[in-house]
């Protein structure tokens, strides 16, 4: 007889607690079929994500290249026509014009970003680059275009541009490998079928006993998301005025004649990129990826110092402006006489080494590819999730342009001097997410970013701007 306390619970526990029964054979076939289907689906998602990432990178790179003010094709052609007309009508001395043209031609050989950029051949080259880039991006058959691009007669690529195409070609090569991988899935399935037809040898295990004391509520693997996630993000960025404790330049401004002091204001920009996340704990996520980001500022009534080459037809490129981000070296513009005409409203001194002011507006654009390493701690992990994000980033300088314009017309291009190629920054953000489905989350995150070291290598320039971005993101979690 059993003791009196033995009751129905024990009866069922003893008989059914360790109950085993071999399931039907077809069940494993079904499971394998579903696992294969999931693998294919997952690979497709990865392929789509990589494709989207590649498209975004292409868009950024293409946009960057096409909007680069130092690009030879950036100054509109009608500007040349206008300037040429002005030249023939207003220039009283034909000989001087010829002499100017000679000096101009000599300069153009020295500086590729000079006025020679407006020759028809180079404009055609620029168009060719654009069309090649577009066709390259549109080509989804992964045929090796690399050789074609390099062999194109009209396409004259600089070393940097060749590197760019090399990188793009490499990326598409990776996508091709990924496609091959997916297509190989069918072969795997056939191999599996063959494998399944053979008997499977089961190795003996020293399996542990069932741990009944562990609670389900504590760890619910069936309900939780996967560890990997990918996020596409986009943000309007508000740049603050950098607190430049240095002087930026040793130039002395001389704006006394027009009584308009030079003034620098920051402009709002946009950033965007892809971030991969890896869940290391229940609430902690580590993230990294790449974000394109830029800093833009404009300076009104900009002053110059130099050989007055901007105004007069004197060889040399020593026009220098001073801004909080450092000195800006400006190249000579298209036509010297036109420049005089354009800046005729400005007051200036005629000494070749004097400072002089203009009514021009100088816009500086400094672009970075940011590679962040971030950690997000989820304060609330529900339908509406809240997370605190912090991290540091490596910012790689990818764009450095300056455009001088007056009354909306571009009259000079150049770049900010002494920009550091790699800058570090820190960022904190409060991420508010709305879980749309198990896999997709929409997030909004105010993110404050501050550059840790000065953007300039010039020790007298301490340019460490801060940025506030309202980051909107779409996160896809892999299960």
């Amino acid at each position: 007889m059993l003791n009196d306390n033995k009751h129905i619970d024990q009866l069922f526990r003893e008989k059914l607690g360790e109950f085993e029964k071999t399931p039907p054979m077809y069940l494993w076939t079904n499971i394998q079929g579903k696992l294969n289907a999931r693998r294919k689906e997952r690979r497709l998602v990865i392929l789509k994500t990589v494709s989207i990432a590649a498209a975004i990178v292409l868009a950024f790179l293409a946009g960057w290249k096409l909007t680069n003010p130092t690009d030879k094709g950036a100054i509109p052609q009608n500007s040349v026509a206008k300037q040429q007309d002005t030249n023939s009508m207003t220039n009283p001395s034909a000989n001087e014009t010829t002499a100017n043209a000679k000096v101009f031609a000599a300069d153009s050989r020295k500086d590729t970003s000079d006025t020679s950029g407006l020759t028809p051949k180079v404009i055609r080259t620029s168009n060719s680059k654009l069309s090649s880039l577009a066709s390259f991006a549109a080509n989804t058959s992964f045929v090796d275009n690399h050789a074609t691009v390099q062999k194109s007669e009209d396409l004259v690529l600089s070393n940097n541009e060749k590197e760019l195409f090399d990188k793009l070609h490499h990326n598409f090569g990776m996508v091709k490998k990924l496609t091959d991988w997916i297509s190989s899935d069918k072969k795997d399935s056939i191999a599996d079928a063959n494998q399944n037809s053979k008997s499977v040898v089961i190795h003996p295990f020293s399996f542990p006993a069932t741990n009944k004391s562990v609670t389900i509520a504590m760890n619910n693997p069936a309900g939780s998301n996967g560890r990997w996630s990918i996020k596409a993000e986009f943000a309007p960025v508000f740049n603050n005025q950098a607190n430049n404790s240095g002087q930026g330049s040793r130039l002395n401004y001389d704006n006394s004649q027009n009584n308009k002091p030079q003034q620098t204001n920051t402009e709002n920009t946009f950033s965007g990129g892809m971030i991969a996340g890896y869940k290391v704990g229940k609430r902690l996520i580590l993230k990294s990826g790449f974000i394109y980001n830029n800093i833009r500022q404009s300076t009104n009534n900009v002053s110059f110092m130099g050989a007055n080459a901007l105004l007069f037809n004197i060889a040399g490129n020593s026009n220098i402006a001073s801004t909080p981000a450092g000195k800006v070296n400006l190249n000579k513009t298209v036509n010297n006489n036109t420049q005089m005409d354009v800046i005729s409203g400005s007051s200036y001194q005629l000494s070749s080494s004097a400072n002089y002011s203009s009514a021009g507006e100088l816009k500086q654009d400094i672009g970075f590819i940011e590679i962040p390493v971030q950690a997000t701690y989820k304060l609330i992990d529900k339908k509406i999730a809240v997370g605190l994000t912090g991290g540091i980033s490596t910012n790689i300088l990818v764009g450095n342009n300056a455009i001088l314009s007056e009354n909306g017309e571009k009259i000079g291009t150049g770049e900010t001097a002494n920009m550091r190629n790699i800058v570090y920054s820190g960022a904190v953000g409060l991420e508010i997410g709305y879980v749309i489905t198990n896999r997709i989350t929409l997030t909004v995150e105010p993110r404050l970013k501050h550059f840790i070291n000065s953007l300039s290598t010039n020790k007298s320039v301490n340019y460490k701007p801060s940025q506030l971005g309202i980051v909107t993101g779409l996160t896809y979690s892999f299960n």
């Binding site: 007889m1 059993l2 009196d4 306390n5 033995k6 009751h7 129905i8 619970d9 009866l11 069922f12 526990r13 008989k15 059914l16 607690g17 360790e18 109950f19 085993e20 029964k21 071999t22 399931p23 039907p24 069940l27 494993w28 079904n30 499971i31 394998q32 579903k34 696992l35 999931r38 693998r39 599996d192 494998q195 399944n196 499977v200 089961i202 190795h203 003996p204 295990f205 020293s206 399996f207 542990p208 006993a209 069932t210 741990n211 009944k212 004391s213 562990v214 609670t215 389900i216 509520a217 760890n219 619910n220 693997p221 069936a222 309900g223 939780s224 996967g226 560890r227 299960n479």
Partner: protein, 187 residues
Amino acid sequence: MTNLEETIQKCALGDRKAQTILYNHFAPKMYGVCLRYSKDTSEAEDNLQDGFIRVFTKIGQFEFKGSFEGWMRRIMVNTSLEKFRKSNHLYPVEDMIAFEGVQYSEETLSAISADDLMKIIQQLPPRYRMVFNLYAIEGYSHQEIAKLMKITEGTSKSNLSRARVILQKKVIDDFGLQKNTVTTTLC
């Protein structure tokens, strides 16, 4: 143990041979779990299938801190509970009848097979079956069950009592056992 760890790691990498080995070893035990939480073999097979797909897709998250079999079992139980929640069963249940404790002889116990008891437990109304399994066999507290099933602790206790009553009655009816009055009750 090393073999198991290696197999789990290979499964995490998607190794199909390792998956087959793991399935063949654990499937009978997990099928037993699923049968207890299901109304019939068809439902149990569905749960086992879904459970193993979850095991293989989430096996990379297993941190080798506890029993792997326990981890797998929890996945099977959770899969069964989710299926139950989705189907939102509203079964009429029998009124609780007054009963007193029952004791069984050794002969009686040996006469009742596990298969017979499985049939009885599968005939329970779904919610009673869930609560009884979780409490009496898995060893969860009413607090844990309430959290898992999104019910109150009182409901969990009530469901357990009713499940016990029904099971008692079935065992007595099916096996023609004599009911003996004892001092303790089953509640």
